[in-house]
Symmetry: C2
Subunit: 715 residues, 2 copies
Amino acid sequence: MRGKFLLLVLLVVSLPGLISAESGEKLWLRYVPVSETVLDDYSTLDNIYAEGESPVINVAKEELLRALEGMTGMDVEINKKLSGSSVYLGVGLHEKLELPGIEEHLNTCGDEGFVIREIGGEKGLRIVITANTDAGVLYGTFAFIRKLQNEEEIQGLDIVEAPKYQHRLLNHWDNLDGTVERGYAGHSIWWNRERSFDDLKEDYVVYARANASVGINGTVLNNVNANPDVLTDEYIEKFARFAEVLRPYNIKVYMSVNFSSPAIIGNLEDSDPLKDEVREWWKNKVKEIYDEIPDFGGFLVKANSEGQPGPQDYGRTHADGANMLAEALEPYNGIVMWRAFVYAPSGDDRAKQAYKEFVPLDGEFHENVIVQVKNGPVDFQPREPFSPVFGAMEHTPLMIEFQITQEYLGFSNHLAYLPTMQKETFESDTYVNGAGSTVAKATDGSLFDQKHTAIAGVANIGRDTNWTGHHFAQANWFAFGRLAWDHTLRADEIGREWLGMTFSNDSAFVKPTLNIMMRSREAVVNYMTPLGLHHLMGWSHHHGPEPWTEIEDARPDWLPKYYHKASKDGIGFDRSTSGSDAVSQYEEPLASMYNNPQTCPENLILWFHHLPWNYTMSSGLSLWDELCYHYYDGVEEVRLMQKKWDRLDGFIDAERFEHVQHKLKIQSREAEWWRDACLLYFQTFSEMSIPPELERPVHDLEELKKIKFDMTHHN
Amino acid sequence: MRGKFLLLVLLVVSLPGLISAESGEKLWLRYVPVSETVLDDYSTLDNIYAEGESPVINVAKEELLRALEGMTGMDVEINKKLSGSSVYLGVGLHEKLELPGIEEHLNTCGDEGFVIREIGGEKGLRIVITANTDAGVLYGTFAFIRKLQNEEEIQGLDIVEAPKYQHRLLNHWDNLDGTVERGYAGHSIWWNRERSFDDLKEDYVVYARANASVGINGTVLNNVNANPDVLTDEYIEKFARFAEVLRPYNIKVYMSVNFSSPAIIGNLEDSDPLKDEVREWWKNKVKEIYDEIPDFGGFLVKANSEGQPGPQDYGRTHADGANMLAEALEPYNGIVMWRAFVYAPSGDDRAKQAYKEFVPLDGEFHENVIVQVKNGPVDFQPREPFSPVFGAMEHTPLMIEFQITQEYLGFSNHLAYLPTMQKETFESDTYVNGAGSTVAKATDGSLFDQKHTAIAGVANIGRDTNWTGHHFAQANWFAFGRLAWDHTLRADEIGREWLGMTFSNDSAFVKPTLNIMMRSREAVVNYMTPLGLHHLMGWSHHHGPEPWTEIEDARPDWLPKYYHKASKDGIGFDRSTSGSDAVSQYEEPLASMYNNPQTCPENLILWFHHLPWNYTMSSGLSLWDELCYHYYDGVEEVRLMQKKWDRLDGFIDAERFEHVQHKLKIQSREAEWWRDACLLYFQTFSEMSIPPELERPVHDLEELKKIKFDMTHHN
């Protein structure tokens, strides 16, 4: 058996200079040869037995075949019989193979969980992957592949897994004209393509495999700022075609709908959710959809938010609107995801408004409505406290909406590994049922009884060859899926998995690269918005720093000054009880802790407090000096990233190495830009010096203020 | 006497926050209040006696009056009698005052030297400033003012000075259309002005005072790439008007002439210098000039150089051409300054050509011809060895041409204090008459007997309010004059003088600022062209790095590749005996020293040698690593400049402080640009890594290559 590995091993070992170029198009599903140390172990895995013939099982079987052959160089066979096989896939196999102890495991696996067990044999390792459904088997297969590619120990493997959330969705903010709102990796993969669907099918299969590999089981194919046209026959048919290609990968399609659709495309007088003809229109429309897409997932709705229509246009509540849609979808087990991202221009502190609008409606939503809440109370900033809505609506399923696309974290130009941020949200304690009532528990069904649990991530996917613009942005797609599956996974574990699959298992590469990733999000916070600052970015396009922006007649809550409130007397948004009182939307002891600058976490201090420039921080430094140090630390961290990365030249293919190197240069320059822009601007108020031991700014405030971008769509 | 200082002192001491804004328009002649510690000493200097009534003496008297009143706040009187005066200015005063020991001093003072002596008296200090001429008295007066403003000890003062060079000239490369070739401080102060001469006279007086204050006694008012129109009546009249305003300041005007003028504006058949009608034309033209400007200085000629016409167009030599003009000027004591800046596009190593063309002509020039030689053999690079022409023409007066305008040292955007570079030239030992035969001695008449000695600096002056674009570029104008007067002065002494006059005498300001200045030129060398590299700048405009430039059909010796010769096998220009043999133009032991990379100074090693990337430098580093360290050191030094400068906030007026701060930011960014451009480009040949402990590049080579400027004139 060793013989047939020899040539392969020689090639890999002797030609390091010829590591083949890679475009990133295969994502983390490259299936490249594993190292010799594990090849021997894997050598028996050359014979797959798969139970059943469903499309899902066939996908699992083919994926495993492809993976094993790629990773080991062996010819792997598909066997039709149990005997003589070494990898078994399928529902009920534990019975056929008479394996004890698995049935009990399967009782905890639900619809999508799986069991993987190494059962040994005369010739070496044998593996069983089983589940209650073919979907579970598919996920188990991908989990097994991941372990192989990560060169983990297979012998004695005994794994039982089940996802924490039922609905694990990507949200594509893709417009029907092909642009992507907040997309930084090219135009939409779904819409306005010049090539035929059949022509693109291979791409969609890669997309589907990637999602299935990390457990994503749903995808919203159009922007939450929804074009009513999606509900026309033409688009329903298109959705149906996408559903068809995604179905074997256990991925449901969902649709963002415009609340005014009945009026706009249905020619009704209006879209009042309490009117019978409106309700009827939706019921008919839903039936039309399910006629084409029997496993259609449901609707995502952005209503009465940032100019979108909604039930309040007719004096109705969000519950009225959501429930109307829920009733239409209910017969088909469809769900409504109703976004809580609402705020009025002239109202109270923007950070308080979702809570104020939605919490009073708790208990009024239909059971197949899930309220979708952004992780923080404002808008996907590099750091926010968790949204106080979490935990505050005991009788309403809530789903966290994370943003995978880096609208506020450097677009696809900055390396920012997001799981550290997402873990911060998951693990935040709401205290609603006492200590330990984390946001994760308040949303995954373990704290409150709820029929549906869900989670969504706003996708960072576009037509770029590498899918996400920055190679490391692929990690955020991967990691979102992994955390949606199991929010208890550590960010570094997930990063390690991704690196092993995407680049290399060589610890000399993995360790420093993981270090770059794990420190990256805090670097972004530091050079953009440290100490709880937020929303300092450029108008409209959100690229680069513009804490000074003044736009005539602009909504005040779209301007950075609304948030930083810098003046001669200090900086920060007073959300204490003597300010906007946003602190009181949190349970005790959080409310008191946030309310007092002495106990408020310093990484959020300017979120909750307006403090004088000479306020003494825990470091003993003045607030101004502390702010300077954070901005400079951010820049230094990016320079360190560059140094670490450059030392890794030769460990991976030159193509991706140089692409990342190029992006890090942009990040380094833009980090300096952010630092100088923010500090020089705030300095006009603080009138204090940047500590003399720090490097000097290299930009002039007046010159930075002149920078203007024209990029409604950055695709 | 103390009483009348009180208010002034109170104002200065009690209102540090109100240091008045300054535009730099007064240059180093601000005459601001001196500190209390010296005021008492200066208190008797309130009565000036001036001998004579010449315009020059009047200038001296008025300047001293203005200076003393400004610096002390006293009312100073002009006395008509010797008795009762405390400052005496004029020729022959030592006799009137019966002062012993001065006559002997005056014997060493020549036409322009002076004696300053503190002669005491009942009421306190008394000062005598005398000389053999009123011009000498003028220079003595400015020297005395400088000492006062620098708050030097006056008691017991006993100074005897005489200039090292007779002709101390600025060369203005000003075109008649008002643009300035290699000018970075606005358009020409002389030409194409929209305002009337009378209107501008005040500006010219400031210019004249500034030059007189540092001993500059001649100025060439038009570009060496000369427009023949300067010899028309219209322009001769304009020159005459300028001469009139400059005359009281002992400054002669000179003219750059086009060698083809007889043919172009004289309607002669050609301009062959051996033709009688051509020679006659020049004689008549010179007479016309002297009729208008009796003290006209002479001609500066760029002939057969970079496309300019010259005697070689007619098969004649440079000597033939220069002598023709010299004969025309000789009756009026005018001089010809004939530039040796010649090189043919397809000839030998450019660095050798001036020597090859001119040294054979030694002895053939008329005695009022001075050959003007750029300090280095190529072209005003941040570092070059001295030109081998120096010392090699025993029978020909040679004058050094320095460039004050920073064509290759960052324009008016980089702080680069040039005296450290000029001192390097002055002190370079040519060894032509044994050790100690410095370039200074080979040009100032102490090594060879010569009727004329001279020196020229290409001016950095334009219509900008502060005259030179960068406030610190004023120092280069100041320092050029000081070194032309006395090349033995130390660069730091001169810098100290300039800082005291221009900014402050506070040592807390002066020390770090002087440190910035003294280290600045080496910083530029490091981030632009370390280790003897040269001519890596952008095509035509010479702004920024373009070591890669390829221009179709361009003269090869105008392209950086001609000079750096980077390839896989190494970098540098082999000028050793096995290369172009430029080394052999130098005397021993220099020739041998330069010829051997082991003995060649490392700061010139790539000027003289092409070395492999892994060549071991004296540091033990490879050439590549050493090169990297130099480029990074350059950037770090600029960052240090920024830090040092920022600590000085409050010591000087905010206007100039912030202007310099702004310029340093540009310099910091551009230093990084140079570093990245050169290293990333050279790296494509060396294929070696930038040492991992160094910061990473922040630019991409391909992006830098795309930068294109359109700036024929940067005015």
